[in-house]
């Protein structure tokens, strides 16, 4: 479903997919996030086959509020809570800045840790 924002010439519709792409990009730029993961196997297979860049991001947008769920992989050795907070904040900021639509919630699901250097 999309939002219909009226302007003099017509209406502007933003798809959840567009929102997801912004969120995906913002998440990958967040420190500590080293990947986005599928939330389940079916989702993973479907999105990998289609080469969907929004893997790991779920957006619910009913025209009023945006709810975003992120499924991320965090680098082992960092403080997970701080990273998760940062990602949530960055994604919210970027989405709101790009679209001008307020974000109701950003839920961060840490699906796993990547161990680059075991301590």
């Amino acid at each position: 479903m999309t939002n219909g924002e009226e302007n003099p010439i017509g209406s502007i519709l933003v798809s959840p997919r567009a929102i997801a792409t912004i969120a995906w990009y913002a998440a990958l730029q967040s420190y500590g996030v080293v990947g986005l993961a599928p939330k389940n196997i079916a989702d993973g297979i479907a999105k990998t086959l289609v080469k969907d860049p929004t893997l790991g991001v779920d957006v619910n947008y009913d025209g009023n509020k945006i709810d975003i769920d992120l499924y991320i992989i965090i680098e082992y050795g960092t403080r997970i809570k701080s990273v998760a907070n940062s990602v949530a904040g960055t994604v919210r900021f970027q989405v709101e800045k790009c679209l001008g639509i307020p974000v109701n919630s950003v839920n961060v699901h840490v699906q796993g840790l990547r161990v680059s250097d075991p301590d």
Partner: protein
């Protein structure tokens, strides 16, 4: 002076020096922030991270430099706050791993360690953004590997290497606006990079015997507001705060300038922009005109603001409750409660209900896992219940619970009223599991309201809310808004159908006065004459009111 090796104790002192110098310049780093960072300011975050790193080793007598580094890195990890804090913890982690368990650190090892620090830092992100602290980390590693290492005579001198590294850091920081356009348009350098620079510079100052505190460096003028108070602490004997703008006739000798000011007062801060200087100082009453006369002698003074500090402090003391607060005494085998609180008044209420330990939520209600852990680790009992009182803290509380051998239950209170409602059922000698269930189900016995100011304009369900309006939240959802505080409060209570309940409790925060709070409470009493209305001084920041409806 040359030094070819350092040991664990040397590293410890250098870390402390880096921390102190960073703290001295904390506000400068904060002033370079360009993004609305939701988790706090860069300078503050890096100080907190470094503080945690140093606290881990402050009592340690460890001489092995590798082990000392591991401990510091562990402390940094535990206390990492915000983006910059996490990156800093990664830098320490890489650094420590490279040192492994070596006794002493020499030049080749340091060069290698800086490289590993850089690598570890970069591994933490998929798309690194250049023009940030990462770039500075990269540049100092490169400088250490190439320019510094081949320095001829001083090849094995650590101090020369440090000097060279700091110079490279400075250049790298100055270059960040070229790499990140948003810095350039804001007219600042990268805050995280600058923070790292200060940490390194502090280490060098320690080696050179230069002071680490009190001497403020000049910061960006834009970050020093005329009417905002830069220092919240007022020292003994200081009566007036003077802020003035002046343009010196000749170039200013900062050392002499500071020394002269230091004979007049304290809390000296200097801002500079386009040749104009802004001076901030606290002085005793008898010296109140000295800074002004001094500035006039040096240049043309354009603006002066004087404020009486003792009046401010008095006001604060009048509104704070002077009653002593005592926490519950815990005996072994009893169940102890730990509550996270946003303000002193609310802390007092929890204490009166029998809480054994309190955790200060702070300005951002974001205590670290460590803080929560420390609150209950030393209590003389194995049975602990934690009340986060904020939905963002529930995860930290659960993490703290997983890090201890004690039997800990997190009662997932999402707000202060929920936490209080649950605490009413607390019994020190009850059965742990059934008490946990009872308290958890009590959470929903109460409705939680919050009144605050909208920090941005948004559209809610088609209703436009303007920045600066007073908004009311019910159980975390924004439901009402208006331009008047009293109106929003009454609207919120109406929305919650308060007339169907028995008790309305209003906790007022730092942003409104006692008189205002009582006035609004009276209006509430008038409308809800069948309900009991209580007012308490909560002392919390940001929220004018936290409301419980039960």
């Amino acid at each position: 002076m040359t030094k070819n090796v350092i040991d664990g104790q040397d590293l410890k002192h250098l870390t402390e020096a880096g921390l102190v110098w960073l703290r001295t310049n904390q506000q400068v780093v904060n002033s370079y922030n360009v993004f609305p960072v939701p988790d706090g300011d860069t300078g503050t975050n890096m100080v907190l991270t470094m503080q945690s790193a140093y606290d881990e080793v402050s009592d340690s007598a460890e001489r092995n430099v590798g082990k000392m580094a591991q401990a510091i890195a562990h402390g940094a990890l535990m206390g990492a706050r915000g983006n910059s804090g996490v990156i800093l913890s990664q830098i320490w982690r890489g650094f420590a791993r490279s040192l492994d368990s070596s006794d002493l650190l020499d030049v080749p090892m340091l060069v290698h360690a800086l490289g590993t620090a850089r690598d570890t830092a970069y591994k933490g992100v998929v798309r690194p953004v250049e023009g940030t602290i990462l770039t500075v980390t990269k540049d100092i590693a490169t400088a250490a590997e190439t320019a510094c290492h081949k320095d001829g005579d001083n090849q094995s001198d650590l101090i020369s290497l440090l000097e060279c590294v700091i110079e490279a850091a400075d250049i790298s920081v100055q270059h960040t606006p070229e790499l990140l356009p948003v810095l350039k348009s804001a007219g600042v350098v990268d805050s995280g990079g600058k923070g790292l620079f200060y940490i390194l510079e502090g280490m060098l100052r320690h080696v050179q015997g230069l002071p680490l505190e009190g001497v403020s460096t000049v910061q960006a003028l834009g970050s020093m507001k005329m009417d905002e108070h830069i220092m919240s602490m007022v020292e003994e004997g200081q009566d007036y705060e003077i802020v003035l703008d002046f343009r010196p006739y000749d170039s200013l000798n900062l050392e002499d300038f500071y020394s002269s000011l230091e004979t007049m007062g304290t809390s000296i801060q200097l801002g500079e922009g386009d040749g104009m200087y802004r001076l901030h100082i606290h002085v005793p009453a008898d010296k109140r005109y000295e800074p002004i006369d001094y500035a006039i002698s040096l240049g043309s003074v354009t603006k002066i603001a004087i404020e009486n500090l003792s009046v401010q402090v008095d006001d604060k003391q009048k509104t704070s409750d002077s009653g002593k607060m005592s926490l519950a005494f815990v005996e072994p085998g009893q169940i102890a409660s730990v509550a996270v609180v946003p303000g002193p008044g609310i802390a007092r209420v929890f204490a009166s209900l029998g809480v054994a330990a309190l955790v200060d939520g702070g300005q951002t209600m974001n205590p670290s896992t460590q803080e929560i852990l420390l609150a209950f680790e030393n209590l003389p009992t194995e049975k602990i219940m934690i009340f986060p009182n904020n939905k963002n803290i529930i995860l930290a509380a659960q993490t703290a619970a997983s890090l201890t051998v004690k039997k800990v239950a997190v009662i997932p209170s999402r707000s202060v009223p929920q936490g209080l409602s649950a605490m009413l059922h607390w019994q020190p000698d009850g059965d742990f599991d059934s008490l946990k269930d009872e308290m958890t189900s009590a959470l929903t016995d109460i409705l939680s309201g919050e009144i605050t100011i909208a920090t941005r304009s948004i559209d809610l369900n088609g209703v436009p809310i303007k920045e600066g309006e007073v908004i009311g939240l019910l159980n975390g959802d924004l439901v009402v808004s208006s331009s008047d505080l009293q109106e929003t409060c009454l609207n919120l209570l109406a929305y919650a159908k308060a007339e169907n309940y028995e008790l309305i409790t209003l906790f007022y925060g730092l942003d409104i006065s006692k008189q205002q709070a009582y006035q609004i409470a009276d209006a509430v009493r008038f409308k809800y004459n069948n309900q009991e209305v209580e007012v308490q001084d909560g002392g919390q920041p940001h929220y004018h009111f936290i409301i419980g409806i039960e």
